[in-house]
């Protein structure tokens, strides 16, 4: 295990200055996520346009560096993507974190792939995986318009 792998500069930077933080205007989907074990909260606001493209994606919440950075990176990568591409990215990420291989997607630039892989250090820290995945599960819930709060036991 290596703390430097977990807390890469890019994580620390996103953790400190998250992108797309706040409630976006005109969101038409939203979902709340919660980790009952530690109290982490996330609220995802999403605007899907008529073609179900992700027009806007922002979040509010509190949590550790891993959780905030993961959410911030998520909003950056998914914003502007089609519904299908978004789902592929999310699946790719969740799969990677659970021990799968690196995220492959034609919809991500090399830079974005580096960004998403900066979260892979979490794999080594089983108790922290939920920190990294909570917002991604919450995003799925928002996109699918489920009428349920998410919590990380899923």
């Amino acid at each position: 295990m290596d703390l430097k792998e977990l807390y890469q500069d890019i994580i620390l930077e996103h953790g400190k200055s998250p992108r797309n933080f706040g409630k976006c205007k005109n969101y038409n989907h939203q979902a709340r996520g919660h980790n009952p074990l530690c109290g982490d909260q996330v609220h995802v606001y999403l605007k899907l346009d008529k073609e179900k493209k992700v027009e806007q994606l922002t979040f509010e919440g509190s949590g550790c560096a891993i959780s905030i950075a993961s959410t911030s990176i998520m909003t950056e990568l998914v914003k502007g993507k089609s519904f299908k591409a978004s789902m592929e990215i999310i699946d790719g990420f969740l799969n990677m974190i659970k021990g799968g291989s690196e995220v492959k997607s034609n919809d991500l630039t090399e830079d974005q792939k580096i960004k998403i892989m900066s979260l892979s250090g979490v794999k080594q820290y089983p108790m922290r995986i939920k920190c990294a995945t909570l917002s991604w599960h919450t995003l799925i819930s928002a996109m699918e318009n489920k009428d349920k709060d998410v919590n990380t036991e899923i």
């Binding site: 919660h34 009952p36 074990l37 108790m127 922290r128 036991e153």
Partner: protein, 406 residues
């Protein structure tokens, strides 16, 4: 693992009782523990102990994983659908109370009927009795015949439109009757009635497949299944656990808590309040592995042979009366001796190192039905041998000597 020298796996058998080798015939009460289970407890406390779930540090991560592994093993052992259906309790009694209380709160009103049987252990009656007291429910008792078998036709007749739940033992801890629970569940489900099975005695002696049985609830005590004391299991179909209210409230079973309201964790945590018997759950995984290394089929065969041998030998002793003669019977044999009260039998047998149980075995209703104030019971575990039965029979002869009987 060779079943013939399995006794060597159980350290207790190197102990002497009144100078004699221990012949332990009280496994229905609680089983002895194999070395691997005792050792697992020891190592866990010595080098891995931590509380689970709540902390991020390495010890806690490891303990949480080990705890989860037992849950997965139990799921596999009883063939449950998912690990959310496995709830750890303190014993089978708590498992049954959990269902009686939460199911009762939600589904029982005055005049509703609960159907149990005359074979039930107090632990599968008193929790339902509470609903009689608090809700005005009616408890009906399906009768047994002289052999100790449930009379299925009578059972069916007792089901009415008011029957809300059926609770029945899988294996009687007095007569050894193996109850045809699959048939009962089938009958009940046709009328949309859920069934709780008290699997306390079956778990160590029968192959359990909750999917095949299609039972709604199944209760197990780990200490009877070669596991540590302090742990029980409740299996329940996920739908039920999601629908029913929570039971014990406190740390670990909540989601969000404010001064105004409380929301609850997902399964299985919703039903696991407070600190769990962490080490004991972890060690129970070894009990399952132990049974699987023997092979459930081999275990069943071994106990079947033993039971038949014991029945034959006991029948040949004139003064001995066997209690019940069920169609399908596992290694639980209750008996009386003409002229010697069961308590006296137990004391005299103990002198020869033979540990049996005497009394009503928490089945007062059954004993009343059988018109016996008390019985003596010899019950088997995987470690028993034909020698044990022979010593039992000799010790029984000794009762007659002590009591100057012919």
């Amino acid at each position: 693992m060779n079943i013939d020298n399995i006794k060597s796996q159980f350290p207790i058998f190197s102990k002497k009782i009144n100078g004699k080798s221990l012949v332990y015939l009280d496994s229905s009460n609680s089983s002895q523990k194999p070395m691997c289970v005792i050792n697992r407890l020891d190592t866990f406390y010595k080098s891995e102990f931590s509380n689970i779930g709540r902390s991020i540090h390495s010890l806690s991560v490891n303990a949480t994983n080990k705890f989860d592994e037992t849950r997965m093993s139990v799921k596999k052992f009883i063939n449950a659908g998912s690990k959310e259906e496995i709830i750890f309790t303190k014993n089978a009694t708590e498992s049954i109370n959990l269902i009686a209380s939460t199911f009762g709160q939600q589904n029982i009103k005055s005049g509703d009927e609960i159907l149990i049987t005359e074979l039930e252990h107090h632990s599968n009656y008193v929790p339902w009795h509470y609903l009689r007291e608090s809700k005005g429910a009616v408890i009906k008792f399906a009768p047994i015949n002289e052999d100790g078998d449930i009379i299925i036709s009578e059972f069916e007749k007792l089901i009415t439109p008011k029957t809300k739940i059926i609770a029945v033992t899988h294996l009687s801890n007095v007569t050894g009757t193996i109850v045809p629970v699959k048939e009962i569940i089938n009958i009940a489900h046709k009328k949309n009635i859920p069934v709780l099975v008290d699997g306390c005695q079956s778990a160590p002696h029968i192959k359990i497949d909750v999917k095949d049985l299609d039972c709604d609830f199944y209760a197990i005590s780990c200490h009877k299944v070669y596991g540590p004391t302090g742990v029980g299991i409740l299996y329940a179909k996920k739908d039920w656990l999601e629908k029913l209210p929570p039971y014990i409230g406190g740390g670990g079973m909540i989601s969000e808590v404010t001064k105004e309201k409380v929301s609850y964790a997902q399964l299985p945590e919703k039903y696991e309040a407070g600190t769990m018997p962490t080490a004991e759950v972890v060690a129970f995984n070894e009990s399952i592995k132990f049974m699987e290394s023997i092979g459930i089929e081999n275990l069943i065969n071994h106990e079947k042979k033993l039971t038949n041998y014991a029945l034959e030998k006991l029948r040949s002793i004139n003064s001995v009366q066997l209690v019940g003669n069920p169609k399908n019977k596992a290694g639980v044999i209750s008996f009386t001796i003409k002229g010697v009260h069961p308590h006296d039998i137990a004391t005299i047998l103990d002198e020869d190192g033979v540990a049996i149980r005497a009394g009503h075995h928490c089945c007062q209703i059954l004993h009343k039905k059988l018109n016996l104030p008390a019985t003596a019971r010899a019950s088997f575990g995987i470690y028993n041998t034909k020698d044990d039965i022979d010593i039992l029979c000799e010790a029984i002869e000794n009762c007659r000597k002590v009591f100057n009987l012919k």
